[in-house]
Symmetry: C2
Subunit: 137 residues, 2 copies
């Protein structure tokens, strides 16, 4: 059997809780600020906790924001995609079954073998439509 992985450490649990509670992606330094009261004082601890959470599929990195979100569907294996509102900052995670297959197929035409995919869509969420421009406030 595949050896069970260790349980999350208190720091890892705390980081996941902070990400889950946030309505928006948090940067590593946002998290570090929130963790200071827990006695965490240095960036590596935060980045290490994030590594573990991402390895376990419990959190995702938003590349275009250099920030992190809790996974809204832990333990799924499909490609996670994100719709990011540039007005209010909310991020919606979604999964489209065909998308990963299509991306694999298209990139694979030239013999490319995909191991990881980043799909991030910027724009405006339903609530913020109408505000054509604007940044988070």
């Amino acid at each position: 059997m595949t050896s069970a992985s260790r349980p999350l450490s208190p720091t890892q649990v705390r980081v996941l809780a902070l990400l889950s509670a946030a309505q928006k992606p948090l940067s590593a330094y946002d998290l570090l600020g929130l963790l200071r009261e827990d006695g965490v004082n240095a960036p590596p601890t935060v980045y290490r906790a994030l590594e573990r959470l991402m390895r376990d599929g419990l959190a995702h990195r938003i590349e275009s924001l250099n920030a992190f979100v809790a996974c809204n569907k832990p333990h799924h294996t499909e490609l996670a995609s994100f719709a990011i509102c540039d007005h209010c900052g909310v991020v919606a995670e979604f999964t489209d079954q065909d998308l990963q297959a299509r991306l694999s197929a298209v990139s694979g035409r030239s013999g490319f073998h995909a191991t990881r995919m980043t799909v991030e869509i910027h724009g405006h969420c339903a609530k913020c439509a109408g505000h054509a421009h604007g940044h988070a406030h």
Copy 2:
């Protein structure tokens, strides 16, 4: 008529040439190093040139690498997607007509209005397949 935009400045032309000549994405500081012989000494000049090139669709930012590539198909309006070899570092830009429509449709189900999309696929190119792991060398 839509007013013609200015021609590229020498610095902008130089940055584009460097990106085109490179076999891999270049970071802003890679470019800065290469531009020192041209008398460019500070990051803002590089970032500004990149801004202009990206605005004109002549270069793209690879979010997952914090680096930049020349566009292989200037003036197209379709979504640009990238296949990034994590072994040798080469980036292939490709366009799939249906992909943008599909992404718009899927994200739009909840009323989201897309303005910009990032699609980056990491893995191994045909030449590097077989090398299952490994990083650029």
